[in-house]
């Protein structure tokens, strides 16, 4: 089991630690609902050092990344980040990733912890562009400072003017005098920053964040609340909502799928999928009753009692105080003007409302 540089601090804080993607990670400190509300209302810090960081460098780096990712890399300028995905030639999602551009010939790709090895091998295999690929996942820690008060707290630790960093932009600056990639990104829907730092700086920065953040009641937040926060925003979680058997069009990721790009893995298949129409798609649902629709539960057409899909992520929404879920459903149910769907919750059929995403509007 791998440990992050902050492991001893988590233990001292009495975090509940669980195995996650090969790491022992804090799932909660005080409680998921309380931590969730702190991010929505104040400020908190996540240790998400399990995420992977690849560095991609070379004269043909942009050309290479255009081939392996589905978004348009040419849209990036220096110090900008982009949400994108890597697909296999069949259009299945290998991973959803963040791509950071330092220069036209130097990038960082941030990948899901469970996919680090698979993604890196895929990149190496397809490196016909003579780019230098470095997997620096084990050298970097990642802290996410999220919540309405995140900027005020972080500003006290840096000379970089944080208000100048726009959403999905970043700066190579210093936090507590330690070199850091300061990125205005996050997975919560709230205003916030993500700090990519070398492992040796992680404890110092964590401690200073909690020292300066005291007056704003800064709090450590676990992966449990990270999951409920992202679910309220309708953000996909790899391994739950998307994987190699799902394509980005049906997963609601058309907005990052640039089918007019010259070429990329999966392009031909994805164009056909779009032309032929979707068989299923990912939707948001909410329940009027308090039973929680969880991953794997069947979605049923209330009229015909036919199984028409399944829940991919579901939980109780602490902000809306009711159960919400993402689910794949067959698109032909929308031929009916008022489709009625139910979730089979351990044998009990509970009616579900189809909801437009996001479930909740954050401050970002």
């Amino acid at each position: 089991m791998k440990l992050t540089a902050l492991h001893e601090i988590h233990k001292k804080l009495n975090a509940k630690l669980v195995p996650f993607a090969g790491y022992e990670m804090p799932i909660q400190y005080s409680g998921i609902i309380e931590e969730h509300k702190i991010i929505r209302n104040k400020v908190g810090v996540f240790d998400v050092s399990h995420m992977g960081e690849f560095f991609i460098e070379g004269l043909r780096a942009e050309e290479f990344l255009q081939q392996v990712t589905i978004n348009d890399v040419a849209k990036l300028s220096d110090c900008k980040a982009q949400y994108t995905a890597m697909c296999n030639p069949n259009g299945g999602i290998i991973d959803d990733v963040l791509l950071y551009r330092f220069t036209k010939s130097k990038y960082m790709m941030v990948v899901n912890a469970s996919n680090i090895e698979k993604d890196f091998n895929w990149l190496i295999k397809n490196n016909l562009f003579d780019v230098d690929l470095q997997n620096k996942s084990d050298e970097y820690s990642l802290l996410a400072i999220q919540g309405p008060k995140s900027e005020i707290v972080l500003q006290k630790l840096t000379e970089t003017n944080l208000s100048e960093i726009q959403y999905y932009s970043f700066i190579e600056g210093k936090i507590s005098n330690c070199p850091a990639i300061i990125s205005r990104t996050g997975y919560t829907g709230e205003k916030g920053f993500e700090l990519y730092i070398k492992n040796e700086y992680a404890c110092k920065i964590w401690e200073q964040l909690f020292e300066t953040g005291k007056e704003f009641e800064i709090t450590p937040i676990g992966l449990g609340a990270r999951d409920t926060l992202r679910l309220e925003m309708g953000f996909c979680l790899y391994g739950n909502d998307i994987d190699e058997t799902t394509n980005p069009i049906e997963a609601g990721l058309s907005w990052i799928t640039k089918l007019n790009k010259e070429k990329f893995f999966g392009k031909d298949v994805l164009i056909k999928i779009k032309e032929n129409g979707l068989k299923r798609k990912l939707i948001g649902i909410s329940l009027n009753e308090k039973n929680v629709a969880r991953h794997g539960y069947n979605i049923v057409d209330c009229n015909s009692s036919q199984i028409i899909g399944s829940v991919t992520s579901g939980n109780f929404s602490p902000s809306l105080e009711k159960p919400i879920a993402l689910a794949f459903v067959e698109t032909n149910i929308f031929l009916n003007q008022n489709p009625k769907i139910c979730v089979d919750i351990r044998g009990k059929l509970i009616e579900a409302n189809i909801v437009k995403l996001p479930f909740y509007k954050g401050s970002n």
Binding site: Q28, G31, I32, I33, E34, T228, K290, V292, F316
Partner: protein, 126 residues
Amino acid sequence: MNFPENLKYTKEHEWIKIDGEIGTIGITEFAQGELGDVVFVDLPAVGKNFEQGATFGTIEAVKAVSDLYLPIKGEVVEVNQNLNSTPELVNKSPYENGWMIKVKISSDSNINDLLDVTSYKNLIGK
């Protein structure tokens, strides 16, 4: 962690307080800690009869859902209505305000099958 001496326990982490022929039932402090934030407790109607060890309800927490098992055989005589609006009482006060149901204990219940506090603590390694 607190485990009152005057309660009996089950392997499935329920407790029962026996008061004459009435048993009050809830889940242990250990159980609520493992489940995390409780968001819904689905309890049976008054008047329902259950066998010993039968599922009498379910508890939904943010992390997981879990069945509730009746420690004895009996008829439900009261349900904690406060859990409808404040299910977090199960987290905050598992042995007092977070009780779930009261049952009229059937005379053919096997009370000897229940665990005393020492056996329960051994079971969970506390």
